[in-house]
């Protein structure tokens, strides 16, 4: 099936449309079935994916507006493959764990449309198609936060929408300028990313274009100081909204850096390493400290999310195979771990309708299974060896060490501060005697919640012990990306900074 990507994109959308007809009482089962099929399709994509081929696979190209160079152009490589699978997985598990009764049908339909846009973003190879899915993803998320969120939900959803929308409009101007440059060099209009890769730009153009794309991606990641929308969005969103937001939507920004900024503007990317490293380190340390100061469990995880995104961005700009592969792996592990943590907070919120740590204490004795899974996820989030979090974080730090040891040491504090705030959270909520009577007879995880969480635990441990099946295809594509950047770079600093991996050198 060569057109599996189109099926992957449009199957949830069609299912969403048909979902309007499904009766309310069956909507949930309908949604879970559709998401399961989608996940199976994504796994099929993985099975038929050639891990040794670094280039784009399953390419489809259908002209949409040929006069203006817009094509429906999709493809997948090692970098995007696993993010697509993770998007399908987290949508499914989020739906299973979901505990919403109100307007369940609207929720299922929104989630299915959201799934379409998420997969679309990661497989698009045409800038306009990418932009279409990128913007469309805001609409269902706006609705999910706004309709099922907390008391400040409307403020949070508008803030989320406007922030991202503003950034991406600037990115759109950058895309149009890129297309114009391509047209003036080649005489043809094209928005296809692979065509743009071929364009060698003078340094001053690269810087401006880099900044235009940066506006779009940095707000989405979100990078300091554009991160203020995220705690609101997480704080107000329902559990499922936070899960999808943290696991997949934020990855769009970091993915954008890898897909657009690095290969298109290698010289500018190298020139921007230090400013971005500074922002990332501020993100890592500052938001980790803010996380420690929170009283609300969900806010702790929200801020820790920002902190980990800083590590991902740092790895992306290490400009070597370890850093970039590590940051892509970290995108996956962060998606799984933070998604699971948000689900876990959702579990306790469903039972007690509060997320304040001061309300809890001694949960470990009341809800042992819950405490166990929470503990595993917490360790993975901190980056304990043999969990999924360790692999990516270690590779990123290893990669960035070649750029700047000082920055790496500063970034490495994420593990220490992360351990502090996470263990503090665990201590306050899970250990000690049960002080609050309301917690005395809380139900442990039910079968529905276990179904959603146990696979995630399995993945956390499996990929923590043996990351190779995932890491290898990523590495293949990343090495190709780096040697491409190395070849394309013009300034001597960039040539020197973009370090080819040993295997690539030997092949030459």
């Amino acid at each position: 099936m060569d057109n599996i990507l189109s099926v992957l994109i449009f199957f949830p959308a069609v299912a969403g449309l048909l979902g309007f007809v499904v009766d309310k009482s069956s909507a949930r089962v309908y949604g879970i079935s559709v998401a399961t099929v989608e996940l199976l399709l994504a796994v099929w994509l993985w099975m038929s994916f050639d891990g040794t081929n670094a280039g784009m696979q399953f390419i489809e190209l259908i002209p949409l507006v040929p006069d203006f160079g817009i094509n429906y152009y999709v493809g997948v490589d090692g970098i995007s493959l696993f993010i697509v699978i993770m998007a399908a997985l987290m949508t499914l598990l989020g739906m299973i764990a979901m505990n919403i009764e109100k307007d369940i049908k609207n929720m299922i339909i929104s989630l299915l449309f959201l799934e379409m846009t998420m997969i679309g973003v990661f497989v698009a190879l045409d800038a306009i198609v990418f932009y279409v899915f990128w913007e469309l993803s805001l609409v269902p998320m706006l609705y999910i936060i706004g309709a099922w969120g907390g008391p400040l939900r409307i403020y949070a959803s508008i803030k989320f929408f406007l922030y991202t929308f503003t950034g991406s409009l600037i990115m759109l101007v950058g895309m149009l300028f890129m297309a114009y440059l391509y047209h003036s060099v080649s005489g043809v209009w094209s928005f296809s990313i692979t065509d743009w890769y071929a364009l060698v730009l003078p340094f001053n153009y690269q810087i401006w274009l880099f900044l235009a794309f940066f506006a779009g991606f940095a707000i989405k990641v979100p990078m300091f100081p554009f991160h203020t929308w995220l705690p609101y969005a997480h704080g107000q969103a329902p559990t499922i909204g936070s899960v999808i937001l943290a696991a997949v939507l934020l990855k769009m920004g970091t993915y954008g850096f890898v897909r657009f900024s690095l290969p298109m503007f290698p010289d500018a990317s190298v020139a921007m390493i230090m400013p971005i490293a500074v922002i990332s380190i501020i993100m890592i340390i500052y938001t980790a400290m803010v996380a420690y100061a929170q009283e609300d469990m969900k806010q702790v995880i929200a801020y820790s999310s920002v902190s980990h995104m800083g590590v991902i961005v740092l790895g992306t700009f290490a400009m070597n195979a370890e850093g970039i592969s590590g940051s892509i792996f970290l995108m996956l592990s962060h998606g799984i771990v933070s998604g699971a943590l948000f689900m876990l907070v959702g579990v306790i919120y469903d039972r007690r309708h509060t997320k304040l740590m001061s309300e809890f204490g001694g949960l470990a004795s009341v809800m042992p299974k819950y405490a166990l899974i929470f503990g595993i996820m917490l360790m993975a989030s901190v980056g304990l060896p043999l969990t999924i979090g360790f692999v990516g974080e270690f590779l990123v730090l290893l990669g960035f060490y070649q750029v700047s040891p000082v920055a790496t040491v500063l970034a490495g504090t994420t593990i220490i501060i992360g351990a502090i705030y996470m263990l503090a959270l665990y201590k306050k909520s899970f250990f000690g005697p049960v002080t609050n009577e309301k917690n005395a007879d809380l139900k442990d995880l039910d079968s529905k919640e276990l179904t959603a969480l146990v696979p995630l635990v399995a993945i956390v441990i499996w990929l923590g012990v043996y990351p190779k099946p995932v890491l290898e295809p990523i590495d293949t594509s990343v090495k190709a990306l780096i040697s491409f950047m190395h070849e394309k770079a013009q300034t001597p600093e960039a040539k020197a900074r973009i370090t080819l991996s040993k295997t690539t050198k030997e092949a030459e």
Partner: protein, 496 residues
Amino acid sequence: MLEPINVSLASLNLVTLAPMLIAIAGGLIILIIDLIKGDLHKSLYVMMTILILFIDFGSVMGLNVNERGFFDVMLIDGIAIISQLLILAASMLFIPLALTSKRFHEYSYPEFFALFLFMIAGFQFMVASDNLILIFVGLETASLSLYTLIALHNRSNSYEAAVKYFTMGALAAGFYTMGSAIVYALTGSVELYQVADVLQNRIGDPAVMGTILGGSILLLAAFAFKLSLFPFHTWTPDVYEGASAPLAGYMSIVPKIAAFVVAMRIFGMYISLDVEWVRIMIMALAVLTMTLANMMALVQQDVKRMLAYSSISHAGFVMAALALDTTKGNTGVFLYYGLFMFTNLGAFAMLWISRHKNRVFHERYDHPYEKFAGLVKIMPMGAVVMALFMLSLAGVPPFSVFWGKIYILSAAVDAGYMWLAIVMALNSAVAAYYYLKLIIYMFLMSPEQNNNTVYYNTSKPLMTMIGVAVAATVGSVFFMQPLISYIYYMVSASGY
């Protein structure tokens, strides 16, 4: 003895007049039908009007590009043809909105439909000529009919709107005549192509610089009124509020298309003569218009007034494309309006559906935001459709207005005006807020009292027209290619 003047009929090329004559004859036929037999149902007149517009459309399609006729007064070039097609298409979308389930005063008069057709003829004259006098005649024919159409809505604030529009229109007409008089005094001609020739020779002469400036400023002021550009936009929200919702939607499109064509002819001439400050003035007006109109739209309490300000802001956006004076920019003008037409008419039609005879929700406004609170619970499809229109207006892809937006942004980038592109992009981001506000009200708020009367004025024909608008808004990506290539061909064929 003077030679007898001999004009051969063939040299008049009367076919260039055919579209306008069809509209005028159609209007007369409607009046005659009324004379013969009164009290016929409005549906008859609506269908007659559509049929006449259909013939009109066909006759425009049959015109050859770049012809002159009728003593060279008529100019049928590419932009004359596309603008007429757009005007006719918008009119055909508009007129079935008369078929509401409730009876509204104006549609019970056949004169409404006759006036409507005369107005279209006026607009057609306006776009199919480069003679300043004929443009003026077309403009006034159309405007006078339009004032009457507004007043026919028979409410006190409709009269107010009509009188306000009339006064402002008269002032604009004054500016226009003064400006043309100066152009005539300077060049001895009212034909733009001759004016361009004469100006070309005198452009370096410092003695006439002041006069050229004066003339162009007067003309710009006149068109700023018609296009509702800052600071001549203040009439717009009041007039839109007073007019019936579909007519307000119509006014945000058709008169503007016509005025844009004339502006393109006049100011395009100045810009291509390298009178750079005309371009600067237009750009400044465009930027001020979109920014200030956006700011004003943010604080409106009434959806119709919000849409009025939003259409001012969209006009500013398009005006910026016009100032570029590139083929791509001018293509963008028509493309934008061709796409905006469906979405905006659809949005106003949704207001029309929810129109009550009396103001139920607010003492001052017909369509306050509160009226739409929780619409998704009362009328799910209606809320989804309105949300689609709002997203499209906000420029969210892949809905129609987005494609117009990126085309114009791309034209600005191509012409080297990066700052303009960024200003336009940021303005779109600001605009997103007030469109979102309506979506928030519809989807995230709970309904107010006895809201089951929101979809009061609906009927099958209205639903059909809204269906057409939705199809065009959502499916726009599939007809972008033919649309862009046709408009681009037509614009470049006429040398703009």
